[in-house]
């Protein structure tokens, strides 16, 4: 009978709990956790000094207001990758769209961003789900 089995640790004397070391979770340290896929991401990124989106799912967090790095937005909503644009020098930018306050921001891609996720966003206007302006293709 299971209920009659003796407990493995029969009543040890009262002992105060050990004081735990408080670990601060958040972006204070050298890593942050992605709000989209929960991946732990180191802050150091190849090709850029400021990591501002998850390299795996490209999701960002709405913390900056007008100037990058000002941390003045009180929104802290999730920003999904909305579109991809190209600078005149050929560098790609991800347009992020805040899911809670509708704000947009443009961020440079990093060297370790997921190439398949980037290509999926770039292909979105041309895929069958979008309403492709077929008359433009016929005019070419």
């Amino acid at each position: 009978m299971i209920c009659d089995m003796p407990r493995r640790n029969p009543g040890r004397g009262e002992r105060p709990q050990r004081r735990k070391v408080m670990v601060r979770h958040g972006e204070r340290g050298d890593a942050f956790r992605c709000v989209g896929c929960r991946l732990d991401v180191p802050m150091s990124a190849p090709g850029t000094a400021h990591r501002n989106h998850c390299p795996h799912c490209l999701t960002s967090l709405h913390v900056d207001r007008r100037v990058p790095g000002d941390r003045r937005a009180g929104c802290r909503g999730r920003m999904a990758a909305f579109s991809v644009t190209v600078r005149p020098d050929g560098e790609w930018l991800i347009i992020h769209h805040c899911q809670s306050c509708d704000e947009l921001s443009a961020n440079r891609i990093a060297g370790d961003d997921n190439a398949l996720a980037l290509l999926r966003i770039a292909m979105r206007p041309l895929s069958a789900g979008g309403r492709l302006p077929a008359t433009a293709l016929l005019a070419l």
Binding site: I95, D102, E103, R131, A136
Partner: protein
Amino acid sequence: MSGNGKPRSTLSTDTFACVRCGLTVTAAAPDGARRNHCPSCLHSLHVLDRVEGGPSECRSRMIPISIAVLRTGDWMLIHRCTRCGELTSNPICGDDNQLILMRMAVRPLAQPPFPLEAFGDL
């Protein structure tokens, strides 16, 4: 003539001149909505503040930078202000220049940051 004595046609003949190409455009799109960009060159004017809401005092030219696609499949045109860098997104119109729209849609694929040949093996 409508009820208040003003001719009804003034509502639909409201026009504006494009800041870039100078084309005189009717303010109402074919579907009846109010236009926010030139249908010929797709440029816009920064008159609405997106962060604070309400009118903006910037009033500079906004250039179209990319196409985004909503879940519904509708295309959105993303503009960036040349003076303050603000980004806006607006739905495309039925009479927008489709060659410029297609050029913006394929521009990222014409300048990829990584070789696209690798995706042929997937």
